[in-house]
């Protein structure tokens, strides 16, 4: 650290980022428990966590302040961003197909309409 005041500032930012990341993780956990069905729970399980991860990784990068850390952090973030939608999609798709969701909580279902249309389409 070049001098104490800028070191303090960095520490504050790092602290805030870590706190934000932790809060988002808590929100994800609470959502996971409180949301009514599998599909809504997927939102809580995969989503606030991405911003949480960005916050925590940014905090680590700021704290370490060297490029070697950055080289590990960037692939971590990119791979996480590519893979987490896939798992969410696979679980969501399986949940929808097996009817593992509460129909009374779906306001409008355009996929059902589409399946309906496909079923009545003359081949």
């Amino acid at each position: 650290m070049p001098n104490t005041s800028s070191g303090d500032l960095v520490d504050w930012i790092v602290g805030l980022l870590l706190l934000a990341g932790a809060l988002l993780s808590v929100a994800a956990g609470v959502g996971l428990l409180r949301f009514p069905d599998a599909l809504s729970r997927m939102h809580a399980a995969t989503k606030p966590q991405i911003l949480g991860l960005i916050c925590v990784l940014a905090a680590v990068a700021l704290e370490q302040g060297n490029w070697q850390t950055l080289l590990i952090i960037i692939p971590t973030l990119i791979l996480q961003m590519i893979t987490s939608p896939m798992s969410a999609h696979m679980i969501g798709r399986a949940g929808y197909r097996t009817g593992n969701y509460r129909r009374d909580l779906i306001y409008r279902d355009e996929l059902e309409d589409d399946i309906e249309r496909a079923a009545h389409r003359p081949e």
Partner: protein, 200 residues
């Protein structure tokens, strides 16, 4: 899955019969990305590392061979930055929204399954749109119809027609930004025509 799926794959196979040079050129972005990942993970950039990275990248793409990812050949870094900033903004907004929903007591959030018809016919752009949409909290890809370039999303807290249209519009806007950054010219034109038609 669908009658057109296998046909498309055959087209891709046919394309691979083109010259060796073109083949390498097509795979180049993927190979470069793999070599960079290798170097990043080792954290060093010596000649041996680079050669080893190239070897592993070629080996991996040969052993786990997939249909080549066809890029449009257009790339606009400025629009990519616009896309990324916009994307990050939506991620922040969405995170706050979903986090707030988790702590909201009383009313249960209703959701909707929304159909979005995309302009693009490129698998690559469609995948990127799907990933970007998935990463924004509040929307989840349930089903993809590749032949019709249609995504079906599960949108949380969408209990009015306006909210559904907003979710649809967001995805179409994401697609447009991505097309501007790396889509082909005529898909971008089609997307432009569609957006101006919607505005009227």
């Amino acid at each position: 899955m669908s009658p057109r799926g296998p046909v498309r794959f055959q087209q891709a196979k046919g394309e691979r019969k083109r010259g060796m040079g073109e083949q390498i050129l097509e795979q180049l972005p993927l190979l470069v990305a793999l070599v960079l990942l290798w170097l990043f993970l080792w954290g060093s950039f010596t000649v041996v590392d680079i050669l080893m990275g190239i070897f592993v990248a070629v080996l991996v793409t040969r052993v786990f061979e997939l249909p080549p990812v066809t890029l449009s050949g257009r790339f606009n870094p400025l629009w990519l930055i616009v896309f990324l900033v916009d994307f990050l903004w939506h991620v922040i907004l969405g995170s706050i929204q979903v986090a707030a929903l988790a702590f909201r007591f009383g009313r249960v959030a209703k959701s909707a399954v929304v159909e979005v018809n995309l302009e693009t016919r490129s698998d690559f752009v469609m995948t990127l749109v799907a990933i970007a949409t998935s990463l924004v909290p509040g929307s989840l890809i349930l089903e993809v119809d590749r032949d019709k370039s249609t995504l079906f999303l599960h949108v949380i807290d969408a209990d009015t027609p306006e909210k559904i249209e907003k979710a649809r519009g967001d995805v179409i806007l994401t697609e447009r930004r991505l097309l501007r950054a790396l889509g082909s010219r005529d898909e971008l034109d089609r997307s432009d025509a569609r957006c101006s038609a919607v505005k009227r």
